[in-house]
Symmetry: C2
Subunit: 363 residues, 2 copies
């Protein structure tokens, strides 16, 4: 499937599957003969009820979420969850955070409002996930960001915590790009705007036994037990974002690639896309990615031009070639290609082709 | 302008202007030649920056928001704000709440997590806003819900608080239906899903001098001072909802009615719609609205069939006649017609015509 649109490497909000956008446009004035846009539907009506139910069912199926893990669709965003998680799980006690980049560092800072936070390990400037973690057996939970959007660092295997403390994972920027080993997870959360849909929806996957621990100062709208007891309808959920997410889930279920289907297909495609881009970076003396190969992200690939004076030219020429939003995060500099689920292999091929051409002309 | 779509009286999410939906559909794959849907744009890019800037400017112009009042676009919803307001303004001290229905009662309950809450007055079952308020001079603020969606009660004039305590108003379900007298307001907030756009966006209008009072347990993402200092971009805002809201603001600016334009036109149309519907209810012995005429809502019109056994028939026949979502809230029963900004006069005329016909056949 080829597209006439440019390839958009934005880190989130990010590119979405074109068939999903076409369907959203087609259904904008009248969803399934209801006479309403999904934006206009009461969240308590049977039409939206069916949308929510299908979205949850498909998400549960795609990620093989076990029955004892509740799926919540909430408002508040990934950054909001940095506070909402400790409000719900810390009990005002101890929280251990593994810092692997900007997002886990933010999470640690926010959790300090509610808990005794200890940095169990810190990646510093090493670009490699540390293996030696100082964990406390009496911690309420251990927080890990399993894909750092800014730093391009990803866990390719979840830690197995020997002490039985629940593991909390922030999966915002790689959810649905690969399976999750639920046997190692107490809670997972993520904003929607990378791999799922529009900004404004947050997903929380929480194990039953972790409900009911919220601090009294936790707002009702963000209390997992309350939200779970009301099937994500305690307050008005972000209905339109849930609808778009549901279409994305359907799109993943139907995706075929490399003889695989669904999540296995999208994972294989992500592996191939990442291999192609990192391979090109490593083969070049002109570009550089500094992340240790053991923990390079399949989703976010930051890279530097060794001659930084060429940055602006690179971005301008890339845009002219239909390759958008490649500027790196201001804290890191250089470039960043975010190659989420909806980025086709052709997009990465086009980027690599452009990079090689650019190097040939400027190297 | 007539529409081929049914008329949707849902209480929120609610009907939106058809021209806005058509524009959203048309721009879904390529906003203004950017090659991206608004859903796919980085919130830090210049394209979304221009959307946010225009939305804020138009909203400020429509409501004549003074320069010392900041406009924030946030996540979290109206119910979330019931906690976020006291986290930001109460300082852990006293909060006085005027209870005029279900929403202000919820606000009072939520604020108790953070403050010493006193019910300054309670409408009880009187269907009339009480005039005798027990206010404390040392309260951090006074909370009023200026339109009660469930109960159909609206303030047609904001109270002038003699004691100088800031007035907080929950305008979720009538914002942009009429002007706001900012000289009497410290903070106004509202969810978007009634008069503005998709659920998942919350607007906060806060006077400069009320910033910087947040409790330490207030999450950064919900701290008004932090959000204001970052122009609503501390975290990823609900970008697509802001875009739709911006189109709605443009639609209101261009609306002409009764020789008026913009907010004055929409207010006049709302006055006429409400007069038509309440007039029909009062002229009938078959239907009944119990709210005192001094405080009947222009937006939400709950009414009862005196013979409740006809409720299901009424709803079924109304739906067949293209009049959707008229079922009343479960706590009130009967019917409710929400006639927000986007409901044309023709929709209310069609409803009144149907009601009269139904009465003729069943009365």
């Amino acid at each position: 499937m080829t597209s006439s649109r440019p390839f958009n490497f934005a880190p989130g909000p990010a590119t979405l599957p074109e068939p999903v956008l076409r369907q959203v446009a087609a259904e904008m004035l009248d969803w399934h003969g209801s006479g309403m846009s999904v934006m206009e539907m009461s969240h308590r009506g049977k039409e939206f009820g069916s949308i929510l139910e299908a979205a949850e069912r498909d998400l549960r199926e795609l990620l093989a979420v076990p029955a004892n893990v509740r799926i919540l669709f909430m408002q508040g965003g990934g950054l909001g969850e940095n506070a909402i998680v400790p409000m719900n799980l810390s009990r005002g006690g101890k929280v251990d955070v593994v810092v692997t980049g900007s997002w886990s560092r933010k999470s640690a800072a926010e959790a300090r409002r509610y808990a005794d936070v200890q940095i169990a390990a810190d990646i510093g400037k090493s670009h490699k996930i540390p293996t030696d973690w100082a964990l406390r057996d009496d911690a309420a939970y251990v927080h890990v960001c399993t894909n750092e959007t800014i730093d391009g660092v990803e866990f390719h295997e979840l830690p197995q915590l020997a002490n039985g403390v629940p593991l909390v994972i922030d999966v915002s920027s790689h959810v649905l790009s690969r399976p999750i080993d639920w046997s190692r997870v107490g809670l997972a959360f993520g904003g929607a705007q990378k791999n799922i849909g529009p900004a404004g929806m947050t997903m929380v996957f929480v194990r039953d036994d972790l409900l009911g621990r919220a601090l009294n100062i936790c707002p009702s709208a963000f209390n997992y037990e309350t939200v779970a007891a009301n099937q994500s309808m305690f307050n008005t959920p972000p209905t339109f974002a849930i609808y778009v997410a549901g279409l994305v889930f359907q799109w993943i279920k139907g995706l075929e690639y490399g003889g695989k289907q669904g999540l296995a297909a999208i994972e294989q495609r992500n592996i191939d896309k990442a291999a192609l881009l990192y391979g090109a970076l490593d083969a070049s003396g002109f570009y550089e990615n500094r992340v240790d190969p053991s923990c390079r992200s399949r989703m976010n690939v930051p890279f530097l031009l060794k001659d930084e004076k060429l940055n602006d030219t690179f971005l301008a020429e890339a845009k002219a070639a239909g390759l958008l939003s490649l500027k790196g995060h201001k804290s890191v500099g250089g470039m960043r290609a975010s190659i989420y689920n909806a980025m086709p292999l052709e997009g990465v091929q086009a980027l690599v082709g452009f990079m090689q051409d650019f190097e040939a002309r400027h190297g």
